[in-house]
C-alpha cells in the first residue's frame, strides 16, 4: 500500500514573512497581533514538558501575565532530558572576534542541515541566539569564563569559529536550572500551576481547535482533563524509538504522536541524528548509550588501523599504520566534521573490517597528542568529568589508552510540522524544541538544540502565541464540554486494552526488538529493500504487541510497565511512518543516507530538483488501519546558493 502524494499544499501555509531576510522577524513581530497586559490573565496556556523549551516558555508566558499550567513526566521539572546536554550552546556573539556573525551562524546552520530547512526560521534562530546568552547570564547561569572575567567559548562541529558557550561538561544542566528557576519563581508567585508526574495521553479538540489535554497521574493512575486556550507541546524528541540511544529513558513520542493522530501533520520523520562519539554497546543488558561530548573532538583524534583485522593494542600500532580518516578525508574540518559525516565515516571503516575493540564496532578517539602537548592536567581541566564517566562505564583509563567510540542515535530533526509561528496544522497547538521539525533541516549542528529550545521558549512563542489568542475568537471552554469526556474515554480504552492483553512478553522486550530493527533498516544507512522489509516486520510486530504484551498490576497505581507500554505502542506506529518517509525520499541528505544515492566518493547525493521540500505526513483518517498522505512544503532558497555540502 503506498502513500498518496499531495503536491505543494494549502495545508502547509508556512506563514514565513517576505522581504530582506534580516528584516523578516522584526517585520513579522510588528505585524503580529498583541494581547494587552490586562487581557492576558484571561488566557490559560497548557505547557506540556518542562525541558529547555517548556520551562522557558512557561516562565516567559507567566511573566507576561498569562495563566499557565505546566506538565511533566518526571517528579520535578528540573529533571527533563535537557539536563543531560553536555557540550554547549551556540550564539553569534562574536566575542572571540573570529569573524562570527548572525549571517555566519545562519549559513552554517542551513548548510549543516544540508539545505533542508527554511531560511526564515534559521535566520531568526541565529538572530535571537545572542539574546539567549544575555538572558541566561542574567539568571546566574555560571558559564565558563576567562581570567579577565569575560565569557569563554569553544568550537563545535560544522563551524570554523568559536561560538559555543559552555558550563564545564554540564551546559544543559545549567541552562535548564536557569529556566527551571524562572519557572519555579512563577510557581511560587501562583502564576504557574505545576503538574509533575503527569503524562499527557491525548489532545482535546473543540471545533477543530486545540483546547485541552488528557493526562494520566502517574502516581495514582487517575485520568484527568485540563482545558485551556492554547496547548504548547514541548515534549522532546523520539530517538528512543531505536531503544538504544543517548536519550534519557523517559523520552518518548506519545504527546506528539497523539497530536498527530488528532490531525497535526508530522514533518520529516526520517531525519535522525546519529552522534559519532558515544561509548560502544557492551552487552545485551544495555539500557541506554552514553554520549561523549563532541567537544572532545577539539583535542581527540579519531583513527583506526590502516589494515583490516589488526588486533594489536592501540599503543603498539605505529603512526604510519594508523588511518586518521577524518583528517585525511576532510582536511579543513578534520576531527570537527559534522556529525552525520563523522558517523558515516566511522560506519564505513568498521564495515571495511577496520573497527577496534572486542566487538570491532568502534573507532579510537585518541588524546595521546593532546596529553603530550598540554599534559594530563590540562586535559583533565577541560574534560575531567567526561574522562571519569568513560572510565566508570568501561573500566578503562582514557589517559592511558585511547577511548573507543561508536555512533549512536542522539537527536531527531523530524517532528511535528509547524509554521513560522511554531503553530501546528491544528490551530492553537504550538510545538517547541526538539518536538517540532523546524530549524535543523536534515542534520543538526552541535550546540544548536539548546539554542533552538530556548529560542522557541524565551523569544519566539511569547510573541507568536498572540496570533492565535488575539487573532481567533475563542469561546470559553471547560472540561465539561463533551469532547473531554469522549477523549478521556478513548484514553481509558487504550489503557485497558494494554492491561487486558495479559500476554507473555514484556513491553521492554518488544521495544528492544523494534529498536534493533530500526537501527538495522532505518539507521545510519538505509535502502529501499530494507525499508520495505522493515515496514512489513513493524506491522507484524505491532499486531503481535497488542496481542501478546504483558503488564502486571492495574492502571490505578504507579505502574512503570504500563507507562512504558503506552509509549512503546506509539513508537510502533511512528516507526512505520519513519520508514515510509525514508523510503519515499529518493535522495541522501544529512542524517538520511540512502545507499542508492551516493557520490563516487561515498558522500550523500542530494536531489534538489525533486526533493527540496519538507515532507509532511497527514494521517488518513478515512483509511482502515494506518495510512498517510504526504504534503510537500517547498523550500525556497533566496539568500544562499544550494551547493554540495563540502567539508574537505
Amino acid at each position: 500500500m503506498s502513500a498518496h502524494v499531495v503536491g505543494a499544499s494549502s495545508k502547509l501555509a508556512s506563514k514565513c514573512p517576505t522581504g530582506p531576510l534580516a528584516d523578516r522577524w522584526q517585520k513579522h513581530r510588528f505585524e503580529l497581533k498583541l494581547v494587552s497586559p490586562a487581557n492576558r490573565r484571561r488566557f490559560h496556556v497548557l505547557v506540556v514538558g518542562t525541558g529547555l523549551a517548556g520551562a522557558s516558555a512557561a516562565a516567559s508566558l507567566a511573566e507576561m501575565g498569562y495563566e499557565v499550567s505546566a506538565f511533566c513526566i518526571q517528579d520535578s521539572p528540573r529533571r527533563a532530558h535537557s539536563i543531560a546536554a553536555q557540550g554547549g550552546i551556540n550564539a553569534a556573539k562574536n566575542y572571540q572576534n573570529d569573524g562570527d556573525s548572525v549571517w555566519r551562524l545562519f549559513y552554517d546552520t542551513i548548510k549543516g542541515g544540508d539545505f533542508r530547512a527554511r531560511e526564515s526560521n534559521v535566520h531568526r534562530l541565529a538572530e535571537v541566539s545572542v539574546d539567549i546568552i544575555d538572558q541566561c547570564v542574567a539568571q546566574g547561569v555560571p558559564f565558563a569564563r576567562e581570567y579577565g572575567g569575560l565569557l569563554a567559548n569553544r568550537s563545535f562541529g560544522g563551524a570554523q569559529v568559536s561560538r559555543t558557550f559552555y558550563a564545564r561538561g554540564q551546559t544543559g544542566q545549567q541552562l535548564l536550572l536557569g529556566a527551571y528557576s524562572a519557572l519555579m519563581r512563577q510557581v511560587g508567585e501562583g502564576k504557574i500551576k505545576l503538574y509533575p508526574r503527569h503524562e499527557m495521553l491525548d489532545l482535546v479538540l473543540v471545533d477543530g481547535v486545540a483546547r485541552g489535554i488528557v493526562c494520566r497521574n502517574l502516581v495514582d493512575g487517575a485520568v484527568r482533563s485540563f482545558a485551556g486556550d492554547a496547548v504548547l507541546l514541548c515534549t522532546g524528541g523520539y530517538g528512543n524509538v531505536f531503544y538504544l540511544s543517548t536519550n534519557a529513558k523517559a523520552c518518548n513520542v506519545t504527546a506528539a504522536w497523539r497530536a498527530h493522530k488528532r490531525g497535526a501533520v508530522f514533518g520529516n520523520p526520517c531525519y535522525t541524528q546519529i552522534h559519532p562519539t558515544c561509548i560502544p554497546v557492551s552487552g545485551a543488558h544495555q539500557s541506554k548509550l552514553t554520549l561523549m561530548s563532541e567537544s572532545l573532538r577539539n583535542d581527540g583524534r579519531v583513527w583506526v588501523p590502516r589494515a583490516g583485522g589488526d588486533a594489536r593494542a592501540a599503543e603498539s600500532i605505529p603512526e604510519t599504520e594508523r588511518d586518521y580518516y577524518l583528517e585525511r578525508k576532510y582536511p579543513s574540518f578534520g576531527n570537527l566534521s559534522p556529525r552525520d559525516i563523522s558517523s558515516r565515516a566511522a560506519k564505513q571503516v568498521c564495515d571495511e573490517g577496520r573497527g577496534v575493540g572486542a566487538t570491532r564496532m568502534a573507532v579510537y578517539l585518541d588524546f595521546r597528542d593532546a596529553i603530550r602537548r598540554e599534559g594530563a592536567g590540562g586535559i583533565r581541566a577541560k574534560y575531567g568529568n567526561l574522562f571519569q564517566m568513560y572510565e566508570r562505564i568501561t573500566g578503562e583509563d582514557p589517559y592511558q589508552a585511547p577511548m573507543r567510540i561508536f555512533p549512536a542515535v542522539h537527536y531527531t530533526m523530524g517532528g511535528v510540522w509547524v509554521d513560522y509561528n511554531l503553530e501546528s496544522t491544528i490551530p492553537g497547538l504550538f510545538v517547541l524544541g526538539e518536538a517540532n521539525f523546524s530549524d535543523h533541516g536534515a542534520n543538526r549542528l552541535g550546540a544548536s538544540a539548546l539554542m533552538q529550545g530556548l529560542a522557541d521558549g524565551y523569544f519566539v512563542v511569547p510573541y507568536t502565541i498572540a496570533s492565535h489568542l488575539a487573532g481567533r475568537k475563542l469561546g470559553k471552554v471547560t472540561t465539561d464540554h463533551a469532547a473531554f469526556a469522549r477523549t478521556e474515554q478513548e484514553v481509558r480504552e487504550r489503557i485497558e486494552r494494554l492491561v487486558n492483553a495479559r500476554g507473555t512478553r514484556t513491553p521492554d522486550s518488544f521495544h528492544r526488538e523494534l529498536g534493533l530493527l530500526m537501527w538495522d533498516k532505518c539507521g545510519m544507512a538505509r535502502n529501499a529493500a530494507g525499508l520495505g522489509t522493515a515496514i512489513e516486520r513493524i506491522r507484524d510486530l505491532r499486531e503481535q504487541y497488542h496481542r501478546d504484551v504483558r503488564i502486571p498490576g492495574d492502571a490505578a497505581n504507579l505502574n512503570s510497565a504500563l507507562e512504558h507500554a503506552g509509549r512503546v505502542a506509539d513508537f510502533f506506529e511512528l516507526a512505520e511512518l519513519m520508514c515510509r518517509d525514508a523510503l519515499h525520499r529518493d535522495e541522501s541528505c544529512g542524517g538520511h543516507f540512502r545507499e542508492e544515492f551516493q557520490t563516487a566518493e561515498g558522500e550523500a547525493q542530494r536531489d534538489d530538483a525533486n526533493f527540496c521540500y519538507a515532507g509532511a505526513w497527514e494521517l488518513d483518517a478515512s483509511a482502515n488501519g494506518l495510512a498517510w498522505n504526504l504534503h510537500k512544503e517547498p523550500l525556497i532558497f533566496e539568500n544562499v546558493k544550494l551547493a554540495e555540502r563540502s567539508y574537505k
Binding site: A59, Q74, D75, S76, P77, R78, R79, H81, I83, A84, K93, Y95, I133, D134, Q135, C136, V137, A138, Q139, G140, P142, F143, R145, G149, L150, L151, R168, Q173, Q174, L177, S181, A182, M184, V187, G188, P196, V219, A248, K249, S282, G283, A284, H285, S287, M389, R392, I393, G395, Y458, F459, R505, D508, S509, R550, P552, G553, N557, L558, S560, A561
Partner: protein, 267 residues
C-alpha cells in the same frame, strides 16, 4: 512475610563465564499508605559491565514475565545528571562509591556473592510513593521560595557587560553542580537539607547577578526548608560524603554567614 524469588530465567549476561551472583533484599511498599517490607531475590548471572539499574531492569523483566509487579524506582538520564535515581544501597545513599550516582555505579565494583540491601532515600520530608520511589517535591518548593534571580525574559543586558572573576565563576559552578537528588538528606541523621539549600544560596550569592535578592533569598529558602520538615544541621558532614557531585560542606558555612548577614540587613 517476604517473598523469595529464585532466578532461573536464561542468562542475559553476554560474558556468562564472569557472571556475578548477588542476593538482593529490596524494599517493597505498595503505596504511601501501606507499610513496606524487604523482599529477597537471588541473581546468579549479573554481568560486571551492567550498571546497578540495569541489574534491576533484568530483575524487573523476570518479575513482569512471571506476572509480578516490577520494582518501582526513579531513574531517567542514567548518566548521573538528572538526579532522579535515589537508592540507598547497604545503608548508603547511592552506594559506597564516592561521587557516583546509583545509575553510574557498575556491578564490577561489587564483590561476587555480595548481599545488597536496597532501600529508598529515607526522610520525613521525602514520603515514599511506591517501593523505592519517594516524593522530593519539597526541594522544588524551596527553589520556588527563593532559589532564583528575578530576571524577566527580555530584560537582560549584554552578557559581557558584567565581568565575573574566574574564581567566583568557578566556585559558583562548583555549587551549581548539585543535581537535587536528595542523597544529602537521606544520609543525614537529622534529615537536614542544608547542603542542598546552601549549594543554591552559594551559587547565586557568589555572582554579581545574585546580589539584589541576596538577603531575601536566603531568608525565604531557609524558612521554606524548615516548614517542609527537614532537620537541623549538626555538622556531621555525612552529606558531603554522600553527595554524588562532591558539593562541599563549606557551602553550609557560607549559608550560615549569609543567613546572619541577611538577618542583620533585612528587616
Amino acid at each position: 512475610m517476604s517473598s523469595d524469588h529464585a532466578a532461573h530465567a536464561p542468562s542475559s549476561a553476554p560474558n556468562a563465564p564472569h557472571a556475578l551472583r548477588f542476593v538482593l533484599h529490596v524494599w517493597r511498599q505498595k503505596n504511601a499508605q501501606s507499610t513496606g517490607e524487604f523482599a529477597t531475590f537471588h541473581l546468579d548471572d549479573v554481568s560486571p559491565d551492567m550498571s546497578f539499574l540495569e541489574m534491576l531492569d533484568v530483575l524487573n523483566e523476570r518479575l513482569i514475565a512471571a506476572g509480578d509487579d516490577p520494582i518501582a524506582f526513579d531513574h531517567d538520564c542514567r548518566e548521573g545528571i538528572c538526579g532522579a535515581c535515589s537508592l540507598t544501597i547497604n545503608g548508603q545513599p547511592h552506594g559506597f562509591e564516592r561521587e557516583t550516582t546509583t545509575c553510574q555505579t557498575h556491578m564490577r565494583r561489587f564483590e561476587d556473592g555480595a548481599t545488597l540491601y536496597i532501600e529508598p532515600f529515607r526522610a520525613n520530608a521525602f514520603p515514599i510513593v511506591k517501593d523505592l520511589v519517594v516524593d522530593r517535591s519539597a526541594f522544588d518548593r524551596i527553589i520556588a521560595a527563593g532559589g532564583f534571580v528575578s530576571a524577566r525574559t527580555g530584560s537582560a543586558p549584554d552578557a559581557n557587560a558584567l565581568p565575573v572573576p574566574k574564581g567566583d565563576a568557578d566556585r559558583a559552578m562548583d555549587a551549581a553542580a548539585c543535581i537535587g537528588c536528595g542523597a544529602c538528606v537521606a544520609s543525614c541523621k537529622n534529615a537536614s537539607a542544608m547542603l542542598f539549600v546552601s549549594a543554591k544560596v552559594a551559587h547565586l550569592s557568589l555572582l554579581p547577578q545574585g546580589q539584589a535578592e541576596r538577603g531575601r533569598r536566603v531568608l525565604s529558602m531557609v524558612e521554606r526548608m524548615d516548614a517542609e520538615g527537614f532537620g537541623n544541621c549538626t555538622n556531621e558532614s555525612e552529606c558531603e560524603a554522600a553527595c554524588p557531585k562532591g558539593i562541599s560542606v563549606a557551602n553550609i558555612a557560607r549559608l550560615n554567614r549569609e543567613y546572619l548577614r541577611a538577618l542583620a540587613t533585612e528587616s
